[in-house]
């Protein structure tokens, strides 16, 4: 049991922080990116090695694990940065690295790592909440390949993706754990309609409409009818990274709110003199430290081989991150007063990102329930 960071970890943290300090000016954090800015940042992230962080060196990556992903996510979270990094690298890219055929890995991983291509994962549908087994998008064998029909939503950064990994039901019926398959679908495929939309945190996502999309047999990613464990693992990798992002975002809120309490004067004294606000700050710091510990634990659990432990610790971490993030957002707005309610003040942008982090890849209630289901027999009961 060891939470120590080694010299390489510290160097990676510092490098990403320097990148963020240079690219994300304090007053613009959380604003939607225009195309030129997004492209420049994407290129810089490729040069830093962030876009192939977890891919094997044979595929243009640097072969790092979830702990390194956590360090990057935390630094990006502090700046509300990263753009499509989570969706393309942590979520979809890692899935291809994990389960893709050699041809798929050769086609996509070096391109993602180099900043030349983006992938997005299409799992959710309007009614599925956090239960991918209820996906109704269908794939049928049709002649020399597959035919996909259905709808997807909440495809993160979907309107900037070059291709999608789409979850579809191949056999069985809604709710079955078996019978789901992943497919690689080019963004320009006939029958595919991509409709982007804004998200509450100033980012983008997309609906996909698939009407008779035809794919060759080799478009499947991972085993036919056996996609659910892959989707769960990918979702857990993303959830773990989001816990780290939440840590960075809460850290930034602590910093901004501290500064505000020190400088804002009311009733002839700085707000920092008011004990009720001091105690709220202490609780915010406590939430931050708990969230940071759980982000570390979740990352280590993702790197470890035991899926039950991964589910349990990622769920625990996501509960803590969602709850600490929501409180920190609420308190930071409250302590900034009416200014905290404005679009100009950055506090609200952090609160919105923390809100989205809390709701994506399983909210607190979902993860509390999954955590409860994964409880090992304790010694007292054994």
């Amino acid at each position: 049991m060891d939470f120590s960071l080694n010299d390489d970890h510290v160097a990676l943290q510092d490098a990403v922080r320097r990148f963020c300090d240079g690219e994300y000016a304090a007053r613009g954090r959380g604003d939607a990116e225009d195309a030129a800015t997004a492209a420049r940042r994407w290129k810089a992230m490729a040069e830093l090695g962030l876009l192939g962080l977890s891919f094997a060196p044979d595929f243009g990556g640097s072969g790092q694990g979830a702990v390194e992903t956590m360090l990057v996510a935390e630094a990006l979270g502090r700046a509300l940065g990263g753009g499509a990094w989570l969706s393309s690298v942590v979520l979809a890219g890692s899935l291809v690295a994990d389960a893709g055929s050699l041809a798929q890995r050769e086609r996509w991983l070096p391109a993602i790592a180099g900043g030349d291509a983006r992938l997005a994962l299409a799992v959710d549908e309007a009614h599925t909440r956090y239960r991918p087994a209820f996906a109704e998008c269908r794939a049928r064998v049709d002649g020399n390949g597959w035919r996909l029909d259905g709808r997807k939503t909440l495809v993160l950064d979907g309107d900037a993706a070059d291709a999608f990994i789409v979850l579809a039901r191949t056999t069985g019926s809604a709710g079955d754990a078996d019978g789901l398959t992943l497919f690689l679908v080019d963004a320009k495929a006939d029958g595919l309609r991509v409709q982007g939309f804004d998200t509450i945190d100033g980012r983008r996502a997309a609906h996909l409409g698939l009407a008779g999309v035809r794919l060759p047999f080799e478009a499947t990613v991972g085993p036919v009818d056996g996609a659910l464990p892959l989707v769960e693992a990918a979702s857990d990798r993303a959830a773990a990274a989001l816990c780290a992002e939440a840590t960075g975002a809460i850290d930034a809120l602590v910093e901004m709110t501290t500064e505000h309490l020190k400088t804002r004067r009311q009733f002839g004294a700085p707000l920092a003199k008011l004990q009720v606000l001091q105690h709220r700050m202490a609780d915010m710091v406590l939430g931050l430290e708990l969230c940071r510990s759980m982000a570390c634990a979740a990352a280590m659990a993702v790197d470890a081989a035991d899926p039950a432990q991964r589910r349990r610790l990622v769920s625990a971490a996501k509960v803590v991150a969602a709850q600490a993030g929501r409180s920190a957002g609420q308190w930071a707005i409250q302590m900034h007063g009416a200014m905290g309610m404005t679009d100009e003040c950055r506090v609200g942008h952090y609160a919105k990102r923390l809100l989205a982090i809390g709701q994506l890849f399983g909210d607190a209630a979902h993860h509390l329930s999954r955590f409860d289901g994964e409880r090992p027999q304790s010694r007292a009961e054994a």
Partner: protein, 396 residues
Amino acid sequence: MRLEFSPADEAFRREVREFVAAELPAPIKRKVELGQRLERTDYDAWYAKLHQRGWITPAWPAEHGGPGWTPLQRYLFDEETLLAGAPRIIASGINMLGPVLIAFGTEAQKARFLPSIRRSETWWAQGFSEPGAGSDLAAIRTRGVSRTDAQGEHFVVSGHKVWTSYAHWCDWLFCLVRTDPDAAKPQEGISFLLIDMKTPGVTVRPIRMLEGGTDLNEVYLDEVRVPAENLVGELHKGWTCAKYLLGHERTGIAGIGSCKQQLARARHLADRQGLSDDPLLRARLAQLEVELLALEFTGLRMMSANQRSRAAGLEASLLKVRGTELRQSIYELLVDIAGPQAVPFDEALLQGESPEPASPPELAAVAANYLDARKLSIYGGANEVQRNLVARALLA
């Protein structure tokens, strides 16, 4: 970074587990698991086993009879002993005075006092709080006047200490007294004295607490003669010793092992009450378990290298706040699990056996334990004071 404990740490954990299973007397284990009151003889019996094994003073350096454990081993020791139903090490001599003497005491003081603390022959009481000095400890008014007579240099101590844990079982008192009332700041002019409680002028009066226990006492000091050689550290510099001691006190104060012990008790009682499938109860248990994991990993992370913290140097304060409030929530849950059976109050059952138990024995102590646990956020520096410390560092 690594989630697993090393093979050496796992072996250590097994060693502790096997030791407790073999050596902890069954009646003591039963009392602890039922939340009943322990006597000094119970503690002494267990401490004697620990002493024989060389494990009674986990936090002391090896040259003074400590086992030479790493912080992680101490953590595992706490967890394993508490989960197995062993009494906590509550003795102030072991947890508080020992480290102070090792850091500030003279060679003569160490030679005289440390061995009997290790053997649990001498129990020490902590004479810090006073009626007018609780969280604001530097406001103490107990006076120590330096005198010299035919028998030599000594202090004459008069005053009134309160909330003195286990003083009715204790042989000696370590005590903060004001030796220079004219000092510029309240923290200056305080000295740290060791007082034999058999000295004329020392009176102990137990205080009955809201849950019926009498662990806390008032200690009256009326012209008590204390030899000059019983001064620890420099004259008027006792605050330095006190701060060092409170730092030590807060390190283990998160009580992670106690949290685990009580959460296991809650699960056990929920099963016995037929509540294991109650969705609301399950949600509360799961939430508390998540919070316990977060506390546990935070404690472990704070022992690790290169981990930045927004509250550098105040980790113990954060752990104290979270650990005590979590433990209080668990005790609250225990009361809710007991339902109406939290209402009977059978004092005989709290002490051991009752001829006609007023409630099932496993539920009899739940309400008293819950009430007793309200002290957790008050002692060792009230949680409000801990939050002040964290905020002051942040907002300075």
